[in-house]
Amino acid sequence: MSSQTTFRSRAMATSPIEQPSNLTRRKARASLVQWLLFVVTALAIVILAALLWDISASGARWLSLDLLTNTSSRKPENAGLRPALLGTLWVIGLTALFAFPVGVGAAVYLEEYAPNNRWTRLLKTNISNLAGIPSIVYGLLGLGVFVSLFALGRTVISGALTMALLILPVIIIASQEAIRAVPPSLRQAAFALGATRWQVARDHVIPAAMPGILTGIILSISRAMGETAPLLVVGAAAYVTFNPTGLTSKYTVLPMQIYEWARRPQQDFQDLAAAAIIVLLLLLLMLNATAIYLRQRFARNVKW
């Protein structure tokens, strides 16, 4: 390795015996850089603080119960988030419903069933590539397939199906990792008792991997909850004053409402957008807290 040879030659050239003064300079530089690295890394906290301060400074004033219960309005003082909140609930709930079984199923297939052949490698490469496709491209897919081809229109169901495809690779990868962490001895014991492959997976592997799977799912759900672009493409409406009523209802979602408000020039709507962002961030915080709670709870039940 070339780096090692350069390192060796430099280390020899700056040998403390030949040049004793060199060492203090090198040490000084090392500690200087250490501080610099710390400051740069701590920048994450500074940015986070600036972001939260910026949003709460303009949004806090608009936070009220009315914001949660009112519908969208042309007048900022009457505007609220109810249709957007319910829309998010509908879309994300259905997304989870579609993506959970398929994602876990695919992960179980890849980890417990799939032979190590070309087809399996193709599937695995494909999944990691899917995870890297921009979300707006999934929107175009949903537009072409669900909205137009299946003629589902710009409805809750086509939005949810699109989002399910978007988070599927994330769920599969997280579930695969959770399943891989289950010790092989557990499987071998079950096989030794005559269990079939599916019995091993259903009764032992999946329950043992559940905390990891759930965490992955909740994290991907929270990603979906903040996604705007694909839903904008498959037709979350910009201005909705009614609650979504079912699968074929028109809808809007929280991030879409934020986008709608944020791009209006009036200061009041900008501030409303900040208030809506606070609501969104609180929702995400709750989801993540649930993920942590579930992980710990399940982790207590399954031990080996």
Partner: protein, 359 residues
Amino acid sequence: MPGSANQDRQASDLREVATRDPVGVLGTNPGDVIAGTLVPSIEQGIAPLTALGGSAPVAFDLSGAASRQMSERIVGAVLWTCGALSLLTTVGIIAVLIQQALVFFAHVPVADFLFGTTWTALFKTPRYGVLPLVSGTLMVTVIAMSVAIPLGLMSAIYLSEYAPLRVRDILKPSLELLAGIPTIVYGFFAVTFIRPDVLKPIFPGIGPFSALAAGIAVGIMTTPLVASLSEDAMRAVPRSLREGGYALGATKLEVSWQVVVPAALSGIIASFILAMSRAIGETMIVALAAGSKPQLTANPLEPMQTMTGFIVQAFSGDVVVGTPPYLSLFAVGLLLFVMTLTLNLISHRVVAKFREVYE
């Protein structure tokens, strides 16, 4: 506690086996019930045999075996379908994009699209030269990378090589928090904070929309990605390499920079490429902060439109399905897909080809 939980589990497993095997009652096991309902003929054909055996314990009762085999196969097929669905998604994306783009290219020649320098798709007299959108995308990406690469790499070095456990326990979660914030929030942050409070004092001439504000926000958004992937790569470098460096009298900085970083270089480069691909595909930040004016310019203080930004703008208004402006969205989407896919494939290749394998 772990011991007793384990024993409970084993005991219940044994009980299950005990109730299932000797008498061979079909249906003790839920799997058999499912199989039984699916293949009644097999169950009926075998049931008399078990009846013949009476209550005498049978060590290996194969009565359920056939139906179990069948249910195994069905479950296997269902799971296979779940896996294949992910492949179908890729096929669907490619099919939709190419099919619609081909219709578009029947209206507009490919060369005009790829090399044209004017993009006015939503105007009365539309011109479809994609270069302004591409240059806007590249401008935002370059700015984002010049934020994310130094910040991300330095954070990764600090977290992997320097950070004491307690500091790490604070810094790592805050990076993860940054990674979890929706992009629309970063877009809002770019418009209401980065531009007026950070950039305006430095560049008084900056307008309400600029590639610079958007690019910085995209950079902040991708920093955690670079940091966590690079940190993983550096943590995978074996300890012995570092110890070799220290044994030669190197300082911590020299070990980090001249031993660990080169050894983890494939993973680090891969993280840069993935971050770049993420920046190219980023949508909501640029939709809010970069403006909607496609233009070929090298001035980052100017408003620009990216490929994703155009798609958002088109859908925020009314595009009529089937018209050239609508079809152009898919052509732009196809270009976006090809660019990000190429970068993703390169990053996989970099990891696979240049990874240093130790031990």
